[in-house]
Amino acid sequence: MKYILMMNTMRAGHGVPEWVKKDLQTHIAFMMGLNKELRESGELISAEGLSFPDQAKLVRAGKNGAPITDGVFPESKEFLAGYWIVDVDSAERAYTIAAKASAAPGPGGAPLNMPIEVRPIMSGPPPEML
């Protein structure tokens, strides 16, 4: 069963977080370690970090389908910072991984406890329906 784990940052600012070097290094090492662990367990389908929100554009189709781009609405408080797609044996396992990611170290090494949205990825119909 595949799940997407979406990491939302609650930060109000749009740029690079202004942490001290040591905290940043700890955070980056933690994330790389988590990805390595998921690769080694044979559960990782993909993991991507997204650019900072100031790079984001909202796009709508205009006349003739031509793109109309707009900056991100300033009132947005949450941004998708990155995501993992994992293939796991149970929903509980997906929640465990999400909790681990949520507790990534932040300033002073304290767990960030970020909200991670976990959703099943749609698949084919279960065989008993066929």
């Binding site: 690769r39 080694e40 044979g42 990782l44 993909s46 990825i121 749609m122 119909p125 329906m129 066929l130």
Partner: protein
């Protein structure tokens, strides 16, 4: 050399577990032997279609795999020498004849029991079984499950690590243990079939046909365990289900439920083979869950239409299944059969018990079936409500489309 044709791939895949058995026994290292045989399989898949199938295909595979094993051992020894400067071990290069003499007719069965060991998680057991017993390449398995090849390779290597650490021996479980271990083997084969049957819908048509592979492996298991009625029951269940494959999707890949399928599209030869297998299995007297499910599938397959279906018999079979292998899904199906025999009110009554069962309460299937019952009773508002709840809860896109369409049909324009 004989030219590569349609049967060659089957031949090659069938040889994989035999070759692995011999190489693993000779070199006393299952994990490395499994890697070596995989490399030999890839070499065969690359070379045989162009150069033809060698005179002694098994010998060819053993030779390539043993060469890989020898290379692997040499580099291991060299590594250890660098690290500890110990004296070189005597090289254990066996002749082809010696290795071939080591083959055991039970090797495929040994591997099946080993790869479907209860110590492994279902996904690892499936991956390892497909590679070690099925002779599939890692790329094919990854493609079938839509995961990256590196992820699948890692899953297989973890599975082998688990086998190693839990000390599963490379031999057939003793006779008294075999009966206890068989359900795990059949379950893995059934999961491979289900995955294949599920994934052949929609946009995934280019994927490796796991349903066919599961049928091939189960056929193989049936040859190795000819007297076990549950192995035959599982094979019958697969054939009787697979027979409906062509009828279960419409021109736009939309899901067509059993009661709306064009039964002329069902595969008659699969149905008759399934029924024949089932009849023989049932005569042996020990009825298990696969035989019962196959019997239910057979009743459906033999009916000209939904109306002609022998629903009292299906209901009786579900009653039996509930006793042999109780589960909320069985109760749910029993409710459907009861509704066909005694009317939808009876079905709704049976569903109420499931609302209190945490294993299924809140599951979309419960709402989907309930919606269907309400529709039959003429309560369209309740039916629409439950079709929509089910649509919101399912994790299958074809099914969500189907359920939303049912709600829309009743709601009108």
């Amino acid at each position: 050399m004989t030219p590569w044709d349609m049967t060659s791939e089957h031949l090659l895949r069938g040889l994989a577990p035999q070759v692995l058995g011999a190489v693993a026994r000779r070199f006393r290292d299952f994990s490395s032997a499994e890697d070596a045989v995989q490399e030999a399989m890839i070499a065969a898949f690359t070379q045989w279609p162009q150069e033809g199938v060698p005179e002694n295909p098994r010998g060819w595979l053993i030779q390539v795999a043993s060469r890989r094993m020898t290379d692997h051992m040499r580099s291991e020894i060299a590594r250890r020498e660098r690290e500890t400067a110990v004296a070189a071990e005597t090289e254990n290069v066996a002749s082809l004849l010696e290795i071939e003499a080591d083959m055991d007719p039970d090797d495929t069965l040994i591997l099946l029991f080993m790869c479907c060991h209860p110590a492994l998680s279902p996904s690892s057991a499936i991956a390892l079984t497909l590679r070690a017993v099925g002779g599939l390449t890692t790329a094919e398995i990854a493609n079938a499950f839509l995961v990256p090849e590196a992820t699948m390779a890692q899953r297989i290597s973890r599975a082998k690590q688990t086998i190693k650490t839990s000390g599963v021996p490379f031999r057939l479980p003793p006779r008294h243990e075999r009966t206890g271990r068989l359900p795990a083997v059949l379950h893995v084969l059934y999961l491979i079939f289900s995955e294949g049957y599920t994934s052949s819908i929609g946009s995934h048509l280019q994927r490796f046909d796991l349903a066919c592979e599961a049928i091939r492996l189960t056929r193989n298991a049936k040859t190795l365990l000819p007297d076990n009625p549950e192995v035959a029951g599982l094979l019958a269940l697969m054939l009787l289900t697979d027979a409906r494959r062509a009828a279960r999707t419409g021109p736009h890949e939309e899901l067509i439920p059993l009661d709306k399928q064009d039964r002329r599209l069902w595969d008659r030869s699969e149905i008759s083979e399934g029924i024949e297998l089932l009849t023989a299995a049932l005569s042996k007297g020990s009825v298990g869950l696969y035989q019962l499910q196959a019997a239910i599938a057979a009743v459906h397959d033999e009916a000209e239409s939904v109306e002609d279906t022998d629903w009292p018999q299906i209901l009786a079979l579900y009653e039996l299944l509930k006793r042999v292998a109780p589960s909320p899904i069985v109760t749910l199906n029993l409710a459907i059969a009861a509704a066909m025999v005694h009317g939808p009110a009876k079905g709704l009554e049976l569903l109420r018990a499931l609302d209190r069962d945490p294993r299924i309460a809140g599951h979309y299937r419960l709402d989907a079936v309930r919606a269907h019952f309400f529709e039959k009773m003429g309560d369209h508002d309740a039916a629409i409500k439950h079709y929509r709840i089910a649509a919101a809860r399912t994790t299958s896109i074809p099914e969500r489309n189907y359920l939303m369409t049912q709600a829309a049909r009743l709601a009108g324009d």
